[in-house]
């Protein structure tokens, strides 16, 4: 279940709208943010804690460039739909799995694995193929045309659902 948009007041929304990027790198960043938003440092910290607790924020921090930071790979596997949860759990147990989604397709589990180097990825995936008893599609990124998940949140549209 997702949260309701009325759970988020103006301060929550402005925090999200203003600080998906460019969090200040200064000694008291939340104080700097609070000054800009006309709130107190304490309020900003409380709001961020609440948004993290609600699961609306994965974290407050850096997004690393996947190619510069290490190795990563998108992988897909086709599993029986009625056993999907169990297979997803096995995948989640492998170190470095940071995304794992069910999708409507014959290949119904899609996950991203990250590691310090390619070799670890390969080894983990080969091991996982044995665990799952299934072949995994390995789909490394060859060329990036655009990656930016810091898009503007459509608050007005969310009000309507």
């Amino acid at each position: 279940m997702h949260c309701q948009s009325q759970d988020f007041d103006t301060l929550d929304r402005r925090l999200i709208d203003c600080y998906q990027r460019d969090l200040p790198v200064c000694s008291r960043p939340f104080h700097a943010m609070a000054e800009r938003l006309g709130a107190s440092e304490e309020q900003v910290i409380e709001r961020l804690q609440r948004l993290e607790t609600l699961g609306v924020l994965s974290r407050v921090g850096p997004v690393f460039d996947h190619a510069l930071a290490g190795a990563s790979l998108l992988a897909a596997v086709a599993v029986p739909e009625e056993q999907r949860d169990a297979f997803a759990e096995l995948i989640n147990q492998v170190p470095g799995v940071n995304h794992n989604y069910a999708r409507e397709h014959h290949y119904n589990l899609w996950f991203v694995m990250t590691a310090a180097e390619e070799r670890s990825l390969d080894e983990r995936l080969t091991q996982l193929e044995t665990t799952l008893g299934r072949t995994i599609l390995r789909l490394p990124m060859l060329e990036s045309f655009h990656i930016d998940l810091a898009f503007a949140i459509p608050w007005a549209e969310l009000e309507g659902i």
């Binding site: 008291r28 961020l48 609306v56 995304h99 999708r103 899609w110 998940l149 898009f151 949140i153 659902i161």
Partner: protein, 188 residues
């Protein structure tokens, strides 16, 4: 005329590499910590500095340098869109002729509704698709309508494609790239 090397600096290289070694380990630890997010306290950089044996100023300088080097692409609130109700998340996969894929990818990437767009290898015969793009929306019908517009605008009607809506997120967190020692949290 050569000046004699002052005592104790006979092997400046060894000294330097020893410093780099300890510096790089502290920085590696900083990356492990940063991948898990900032502590939500008044002085988060100070807390991180204490945890990895650096000074607050060093941590901030290091983060700024990683930003300049684009190792850090962005720094801020990382939103889980599904939790906000932006859960019509379509991964659209296309089978584009190789000599057109760069052009199509670049043009799709210009569209504001396209949040991710990249080329990946085909895995024949199972997987013929070489271009991926993502459209995040609130309503499925609206996402499909946006896709239809894209197909029309970019002349993609002849290009074989499939839409894979996400049904469930089993995990969504940041990448775990920094090498970890056995005593450090694997962080999934």
């Amino acid at each position: 005329m050569t000046t004699p090397m002052p005592l104790g600096l006979e092997s400046p290289l060894a000294l330097e590499s020893a410093c780099q070694l300890s510096e790089s380990d502290a920085h590696r630890r900083l990356r492990v910590l940063l991948e898990q997010g900032l502590p939500l306290t008044p002085r988060p950089w100070q807390v991180l500095a204490e945890r990895c044996g650096l000074e607050e100023a060093e941590v901030m300088a290091c983060v700024r340098r990683w930003q300049e080097e684009t190792l850090i692409k962005r720094l801020g609130l990382v939103v889980r869109h599904r939790r906000l109700g932006i859960d019509a998340n379509a991964m659209v996969v296309w089978n584009v002729p190789d000599d057109q894929v760069a052009r199509v990818g670049q043009s799709l990437a210009q569209e504001s509704v396209v949040t991710l767009c990249y080329r990946r290898p085909r895995r024949l015969p199972e997987w013929p698709f070489n271009l991926f793009c993502m459209i995040h929306g609130v309503q499925r019908e609206q996402v499909l309508a946006q896709l239809e517009l894209l197909v029309h605008r970019h002349g993609l009607a002849e290009i074989d494609h499939q839409v894979l809506f996400s049904q469930h997120a089993y995990r969504q967190c940041g990448g775990r790239y920094a090498p970890r020692r056995s005593d450090e949290h694997p962080g999934a």
